[in-house]
């Protein structure tokens, strides 16, 4: 997990067009080793498209993407871990958590999966080692998400990209997960995380990049993790005015009660 000097992820003037529609326009993003960057924005603002473009999942129509100072065609993929937004774990063929996580060690030209011991260690970090032999089809949505996180962690990546990783996960597991991310960050791993609300990751965030209609509208200190940021339609344009303190004693209106 040795982080090297230079940038971990760099996009310059990236445009992405999907289905004839401009999703991203002129997006610049730079992530350094050990940095934890949140991508924020309302639904449809382009957060997920940005991480997918950065990892070569969707094509870039204009601009440049570099991973570890290399173009995507020559990127050191074994140093990148990715947790996609959706949960694709449910398929027709029964597949154990161990099999899913072992596939996480495939990268670039390495076409052999990892060992069971490596998979078990990654599952253990997510509190899932005891379910290693259970088919993911029999797991809850939250458990499936933890398997996908373990699949990214098994690579011991220098860049970890997470697209809404805590969706459907219980609070205790989120705390364990955040502690794991913190350990990785201290060891030099850079983390890019797409979030709707920053509360769980607030202590780790170095920076927030806010997207609006496919453009970066803020790249700087993360916003306060307050309720006003929690809604999926929140635009996250900054700076926010601090909410005014209520004057006088709080009152409670009872609605619908008998007079």
């Amino acid at each position: 997990m040795s982080a090297r000097a230079g940038t971990v992820l760099s996009t310059r003037g990236v445009h992405v067009e999907l289905g004839g529609r401009q999703i991203l326009m002129d997006v610049d993003l730079t992530v350094h080793p050990g940095e934890v960057v949140a991508l924020l924005g309302a639904n449809g603002s382009g957060k997920s498209t940005l991480v997918r473009a950065a990892l070569g999942v969707v094509p870039v129509s204009r601009g440049e993407v570099h991973l570890f100072d290399s173009p995507l065609s020559a990127a050191p993929w074994h140093r990148v871990g990715y947790v996609p937004q959706r949960v694709p774990a449910v398929s027709g063929v029964p597949t154990t958590a161990c099999e899913v996580v072992r596939a996480g060690l495939l990268s670039g030209r390495r076409l052999r999966p990892g060992t069971k011991a490596q998979a078990l260690a990654a599952l253990d970090a997510m509190g899932m080692a005891h379910l290693a032999r259970r088919p993911v089809q029999e797991m809850s949505g939250g458990q499936q998400q933890r398997v996908l996180i373990a699949r990214a962690l098994v690579r011991e990546p220098d860049l970890l990209v997470l697209d809404e990783p805590t969706t459907g996960i219980d609070l205790g597991t989120i705390e364990t997960f955040v502690a794991t991310i913190d350990r990785m960050r201290r060891a030099g791993t850079a983390v890019v995380v797409v979030l709707h609300e920053t509360e769980a990751f607030a202590a780790l965030l170095d920076r927030a990049v806010v997207l609006r209609h496919g453009r970066v509208v803020h790249d700087g200190p993360p916003p306060p993790a307050r309720a006003e940021h929690a809604g999926p339609q929140h635009e996250h344009t900054h700076p926010h005015p601090e909410p005014a303190e209520p004057e006088g004693p709080l009152t409670l209106d009872i609605v619908g009660g008998d007079a």
């Binding site: 993929w77 027709g92 996480g104 495939l106 999966p113 032999r133």
Partner: protein
């Protein structure tokens, strides 16, 4: 039984059946995982165009019999068609089901048209549509063994990477895996499997031998690896049993093999459903105190 095994025809047919039955479900497992269970059907249809094209070339060159190039023709056209359709699908030009519909219609129409141009009739295609294991020659067995060997070696050798692509294509791309190359390999393997199985079960039923054993195996298996292994064993088993049945009874081998596979699927599903049904007399939480008391009315 000794009489059956001493027959050179049955020896060749059994070797072909075991190879086809074992190789088909290996590729079928990946196709089911990718939700492309009907891809084999589409390839089977387009392989018919290849059979007719091989026939046409054979007729033009003056080969005897005129269908001497039917198998190579089917193989080339099936591989080109499968890889081409995968490429078009990956580019997002059309969806997977539309791509397969085009394979279905274009394959049959092309086959009937070309066989007519070659001087044959649609009836000449019947043995390829429904299989003709009784006419399997030593040369056919060698072809079958080589192609099945390639399918098994590549399919099992690249199992990890093909699993990754089949399970989660987005993650595979974000891992830098050569997704386009791997999906093309899988499409080509499916095409080879169809070609291999053509003489045993016929082009119309070939997909069943790739998919139904997988459907049966996934009822009882709890991992991808075991599903693939069990499906392969089931495929080989029903192929041999089906063939043996047709030795004693005058029935079409391809249809018997597929019906056997489907019956086995039905029986397995019913038995497994009964086994997994919870026993109402067993307390699911023996460590917890009962908070509901059931009083039986008299």
């Amino acid at each position: 039984m000794i009489e059956l095994l001493s027959s050179p025809l049955m020896q060749r047919a059994l070797i072909a059946a075991v190879l086809v039955g074992a190789a088909g479900p290996v590729i079928g497992t990946f196709l089911v995982q990718r939700r492309l269970a009907l891809l084999g059907d589409g390839i089977g249809h387009i392989a018919l165009t290849g059979v007719a094209a091989g026939w046409l070339v054979g007729a033009v060159v003056g080969l005897t019999p005129p269908d001497a190039l039917a198998l190579p023709g089917a193989m080339v056209v099936a591989v080109l068609g499968a890889v081409g359709i995968e490429w078009v699908r990956a580019k997002g030009r059309i969806t997977g089901d539309v791509a397969m519909a085009i394979l279905f219609y274009g394959g049959i129409a092309g086959g009937v048209l070309i066989i007519k141009i070659a001087g044959g009739t649609s009836a000449n295609l019947m043995s390829y549509l429904f299989g003709s294991i009784a006419t399997v020659s030593t040369n056919d067995v060698v072809w079958t063994a080589v192609l099945a060997g390639v399918v098994l070696a590549v399919g099992l050798g690249l199992r990890g990477a093909l699993f990754a692509v089949s399970h989660d294509e987005e993650f595979a791309r974000a891992s830098g895996l050569p997704v386009g190359f791997l999906t093309s390999i899988l499409a080509a393997l499916a095409a080879l499997t169809v070609t291999v199985a053509m003489r045993v079960v016929g082009l119309l039923l070939v997909s069943a031998l790739m998919i139904v054993p997988v459907a049966t195996a996934q009822v009882v298996a709890r991992s991808f690896t075991r599903t693939m292994a069990l499906a392969s064993a089931i495929g080989a088993g029903v192929s041999v049993v089906g063939l043996v049945i047709t030795y004693w009874y005058d029935l079409p081998p391809g249809a018997v093999i597929v019906v056997l596979a489907i019956v086995l699927y039905g029986v397995t599903t019913v038995v497994q459903h009964r086994r997994r049904r919870p026993d109402p007399t067993i307390d699911p939480h023996p460590d917890l105190a009962d908070d509901v008391r059931v009083v039986q009315e008299t």
